[in-house]
């Protein structure tokens, strides 16, 4: 396949891959500078950029944002199976709440010739494949939330040590206000963004975007229609 074709067919994921990497590098540089500024202010030793990349301080900052993004996607994918928003292209049509019939979902004996094997085969494999997006998002959420907890725990205990205070066990740390403040500050912003987006797209449009209804679509109709 020609490179030009590859770029065209994958432009959305390539664009986000590039800006993700740029943002992550930017975060690492700014985080390293901030870490060393604070170290100097407290008359402590500064650290190299490499040491910062392998620090819990950096890991915690990255992971607490990852977990909330994947919680948002997982919840959105799960909630939109049953919950509806009239007039929103993000919602299914009002009479389609639920997991829908095998025929509508093209599984088992209703599968088509080019349906994925796990959609055709039936049984446990089709059940797993039917929920595979949700399962993957939930695992990424739980994994990054765990990584947030252990990096935050190490970071927290380092500070406790520096101030001559006792270290906490991991269990105590995940029950602490510090952990939950860091977690919930991310969750609330994700829930705000998703909830408001589901309503804003009822009234507002972005011509050509599948996230929006067609520009001329009626306000309260066209539920589940993409532009």
């Amino acid at each position: 396949m020609r490179a030009k074709e590859f770029v065209k067919e994958n432009s959305l994921s390539l664009f986000f891959l590039v800006i993700f990497l740029l943002a992550l590098i930017g975060q690492a540089i700014a985080g390293h500078n901030l870490y060393n500024e604070e170290a100097l202010a407290h008359k402590e030793e500064t650290i190299s950029f490499w040491r910062y990349l392998t620090s819990s301080d950096f890991g915690n900052a990255v992971m607490e944002n990852w977990q909330s993004e994947y919680l948002q996607f997982a919840l959105f994918a799960f909630a939109t199976v049953w919950l509806l928003q009239k007039g929103s292209p993000e919602s299914k049509e009002l009479d389609q709440a639920g997991t829908e019939s095998d025929e509508e979902q093209k599984v088992g004996r209703h599968a088509e010739e080019d349906s994925p094997f796990w959609a055709r085969v039936g049984g446990v494999r089709t059940a797993i494949y039917s929920n595979s997006l949700m399962i993957a998002m939930a695992l990424i959420f739980l994994g990054s939330w765990f990584a947030q907890s252990v990096t935050g725990w190490t970071d927290f205990n380092q500070e406790q040590h520096d101030h001559g205070e006792p270290r906490l066990s991991w269990w105590s740390y995940v029950g602490s206000s510090q952990f939950w403040e860091a977690t919930l500050q991310n969750w609330q912003s994700e829930f705000l963004a998703v909830g408001s987006f589901a309503v804003l797209v009822v009234y507002l449009r972005q011509r050509g975007s599948p996230e929006s209804k067609p520009v001329g679509a009626p306000i309260h109709d066209a539920t589940g229609q993409e532009g």
């Binding site: 396949m1 020609r2 074709e5 590859f6 067919e9 994958n10 994921s13 390539l14 891959l17 993700f20 392998t54 620090s55 819990s56 890991g59 915690n60 990255v62 992971m63 990852w66 990424i140 994994g143 990054s144 765990f146 990584a147 907890s149 252990v150 990096t151 935050g152 725990w153 190490t154 205990n157």
Partner: protein, 50 residues
């Protein structure tokens, strides 16, 4: 159509939709490595008290 058969028929890799799947799988692989690698990397850093 298998890759070898396609090569025989056209003399080079066809750009038919079925042959775009490896490229799409490569994209999925890159994102998978970032996610699984990132989570594993930072979990180890936290657990080893870095």
């Amino acid at each position: 159509m298998p890759m070898v058969a396609m090569r025989r028929q056209t003399g080079r890799f066809s750009s038919s939709p079925s042959h775009r799947f490896p490229a799409m799988r490569a994209m999925a692989f890159v994102w998978g490595v970032i996610l699984v690698g990132g989570i594993t990397y930072f979990s180890i850093i936290g657990l080893t008290h870095h």
